[in-house]
């Protein structure tokens, strides 16, 4: 692998990790709300959360571009008032990866929260713990492995994101090129050897993330 390929690999892993970290608080909050009780609008939120999974990624990318591009309502405002651009920068890559992997994190975390017996949370309350302490000391540790598996799944999904990224961030060498975009470009240009090398890296990264996630889930099942 040459220096550029290493840089693309490092950039992809870094921005995928950063996007997973960025969606973590929102993903956990959403998953917890969906796992606990019924409330008005719950099915609407469930549907909206699942949308990036079922929509064509380029369509999601186009929505992000419509919102965050310089002519978009939010992107335009950020550009005009703060001189801050999102579209076609690394921030757009970060945002696209986050949006596309969000449903996977929420699904895994929701299942993990649902598996925590609410009676244990009540018991913690009876022992004097407030809601935040119950969440941090009981709910989160008991759902921990499932959440971590969701984090790894979201990270793996982010590593391979293509459609939304190319729409909102483009493929700018040294700026927004990720592994998936680079593989596509190499294939387009007939550079098969480079494409195969990056393919091997992609497979290795995705396989190890998913495998580690599965291993954690299995351990959780055996422990319980």
């Amino acid at each position: 692998m040459n220096l550029e390929e290493w840089q693309i690999t490092a950039f992809t892993a870094w921005v995928a990790a950063l996007s997973t970290l960025g969606i973590l608080p929102f993903g956990l909050a959403t998953a917890w709300c969906l796992a606990r009780g019924d409330w008005p609008g719950k099915s609407l939120v469930e549907t909206l959360v699942a949308m990036p999974l079922v929509m064509p990624p380029v369509a999601t990318g186009l929505i992000l571009l419509d919102v965050m591009g310089r002519r978009g309502w939010l992107g335009g405002w950020l550009h005009d008032s703060l001189g801050f651009d999102v579209a076609f920068t690394w921030r757009a890559v970060w945002m696209a990866l986050g949006v596309m992997s969000f449903p996977l994190l929420v699904r895994s975390a929701r299942v993990a929260f649902e598996q925590v017996d609410p009676r244990l949370e009540k018991m913690a309350g009876t022992l004097g713990a407030g809601p935040w302490r119950v969440f941090v000391s009981i709910t989160l540790p008991l759902a921990g492995r499932g959440i971590l598996a969701g984090v790894l799944l979201a990270f793996a999904r982010a590593l391979g994101e293509f459609g939304a990224t190319i729409m909102v961030a483009g493929n700018i060498p040294g700026k927004t090129t990720t592994l998936a975009l680079a593989i596509f470009e190499h294939v387009q240009l007939g550079e098969d050897a480079a494409a195969e090398r990056l393919l091997a890296v992609s497979v290795a990264l995705a396989f190890s993330s998913v495998w580690f996630g599965q291993w954690l889930m299995r351990r959780q099942r055996f422990d319980s």
Partner: protein, 219 residues
Amino acid sequence: MKLIFSQVKLTLGAFILRVEAELSGPVIALCGPSGSGKTSLLELIAGWRRPERGVIQLDDTTLTNTFSSIQIPLRHRRIGYVPQDLGLFSHLTVRQNMLYGQGRHGGGTLETSRTWSFEQVANVLEVESLAERRVWQLSRGEQQRVCLGRALLAGPRLLLLDEPLSNLDRDLKIKILGHLKQVREIFGIPMIHVTHDDEEAEGLGGPVLHMRSGSLDVA
């Protein structure tokens, strides 16, 4: 301890629990067949369930009053609860479980109760040697004692015990009963314990009240 239920009604599907009673004494046994509402009554006191209507008062504190929208949060009730499934925290050690509630009762809705050290409680319940073990590594009888110790260390003003002697063999029953008697004598916390067995109901002394089909017979 004086516990007053006034016009309390709780509906769970087809089952309706109605209680109008005044319970007093250091130890009270609630005896009745499965499905008579014993556990639901304990959960109303603990605050795990909210009645559709009614007032529940413990000494001079109103725990629940649906007519004036009072429902004291679980964490301010200072009620020790040992449910049938024990509700131990599987990710924590025996010591961490037992210390979970110690000194945590904040808010001051109820007056401060006497508290004991981990060593004192662990000594009475004979669980000192288990302190660093995970709770899932313990036998049922040991888990029961840990759960009891955890409830005691939170400094409760009332202890609720749901079938504390069920699912135990005869020797273990005698042992746990001994521990419960010791808890009653040493710590002096009022107790309400429920059981479906008349003999067990009398084991701890105190009046035995019978429950059937969602109502409490107060003699």
